[in-house]
């Protein structure tokens, strides 16, 4: 990390950082405004999509996951999300189907 950032892209990260920062602030404003609209059941979906986009931006650019030379870190992130979804989805499956039958 040290080697390449100093010499090769001395300037470019700054533009990216500020652009991401701007996008994140915009996203925050968007979430807030979207919550005031009546989208029915899609309110939650919109909020989560915006939040996930913001989280992705932070992970990819601020935490440098995008530039990571190895696939390993991406694998860690992907499998963590996988197991988190597993926890949420399988528990919700029980709650969602309890009133059947």
């Amino acid at each position: 990390m040290s080697g390449h950032s100093t010499s090769e892209h001395a300037k470019s990260p700054l533009t990216t950082y500020f652009a991401v920062w701007g996008a994140l602030l915009l996203g925050t404003w968007l979430t807030y405004e979207a919550s005031l609209l009546d989208l029915g059941r899609y309110n939650a979906a919109v909020a989560l999509i915006i939040a996930t986009t913001k989280a992705l931006l932070v992970t990819l650019f601020f935490m440098h996951l995008k530039g990571a030379s190895e696939k390993l870190l991406k694998l860690v992130v992907a499998s963590t999300i996988f197991f988190l979804i597993l926890l949420l989805a399988l528990s919700m499956f029980d709650y969602g189907t309890r009133s059947f039958s």
Binding site: Y17, T28, L36, A55, F62, T80, I81, L88, M92
Partner: protein
């Protein structure tokens, strides 16, 4: 291999062969730790999800009683602090010591601001008797989407329990982050970080960004339920 080549860097620990190995290990270790952290918050998100599904209206009523403007401001503060963290790392990579120190100080100031705003929010909740426990009271609060119906105080209490545990744990992580950053600031002041070696800065930054990400989810989930008019 390069076992005997620690001529330049005293920070290379004896059991690593190369600096690259050491740096990669440290950052990989931090990512693994963050995986643990995700699952740690994951249990709470699971509880949240289920009760929000069960008691949507009551959650909406409780959520509307929180000051979303403060929450939004706090989101912005954290996002700015994430920016100052990457700038600090960039400064370290490009040998800008003063900028690095400035950015670290700024990060910590943002962190303190966040906790301050959080404190105001908690104080409000305390005055409104929205803290779960004996004095909790949430009588006759209408459900946003069904204004002719009052929220069930017991279900609202579950919301506030989750609200306090989730934001409280998050705040605890912020406080730990501030501790880490005080140490980083001290090390930066001492001139420990160079373009070649600033691993602590990087992994401290990873932690800080993660705390930011948790908040990015907490904000809409806790502050923005059923808010539309």
């Amino acid at each position: 291999m390069a076992a005997h080549t620690h001529h330049h860097n005293p920070a290379l620990l004896h059991h690593f062969s190369t600096e690259e190995q050491q740096r990669n290990s440290a950052s990989f270790g931090m990512w693994i730790f963050l995986a643990t952290e995700v699952m740690f918050f994951g249990g709470l998100f699971c509880a949240y999800l289920i009760y929000r599904h069960w008691y949507f209206g009551d959650f909406g009523a409780a959520s509307t009683s929180i000051n979303a403007k403060l929450g939004g401001a706090n989101t912005a503060v954290l996002i700015c602090s994430s920016l100052t963290v990457v700038l600090a790392i960039w400064a370290a990579q490009t040998s800008r010591r003063a900028l690095m120190i400035g950015m670290l100080v700024l990060t910590m100031l943002f962190g303190l601001t966040f906790l301050g705003i959080k404190g105001i929010e908690y104080a409000d909740k305390f005055h409104e008797q929205h803290v779960p426990g004996a004095s909790f009271s949430f009588e006759h609060v209408p459900i946003p989407s069904h204004p002719d119906q009052y929220a069930n105080p017991r279900h609202a209490e579950i919301f506030f329990a989750l609200y306090f545990i989730m934001t409280g744990l998050h705040a605890l992580h912020m406080i730990i982050g501030l501790g880490i950053f005080s140490w980083l600031l001290w090390a930066a002041w001492k001139g420990r970080f160079t373009p070649e070696y600033h691993t602590p800065l990087e992994i401290g930054g990873l932690y800080w960004h993660f705390v930011d990400i948790v908040w990015i989810y907490l904000f809409p989930l806790l502050y923005l339920i059923d808010r539309h008019k």
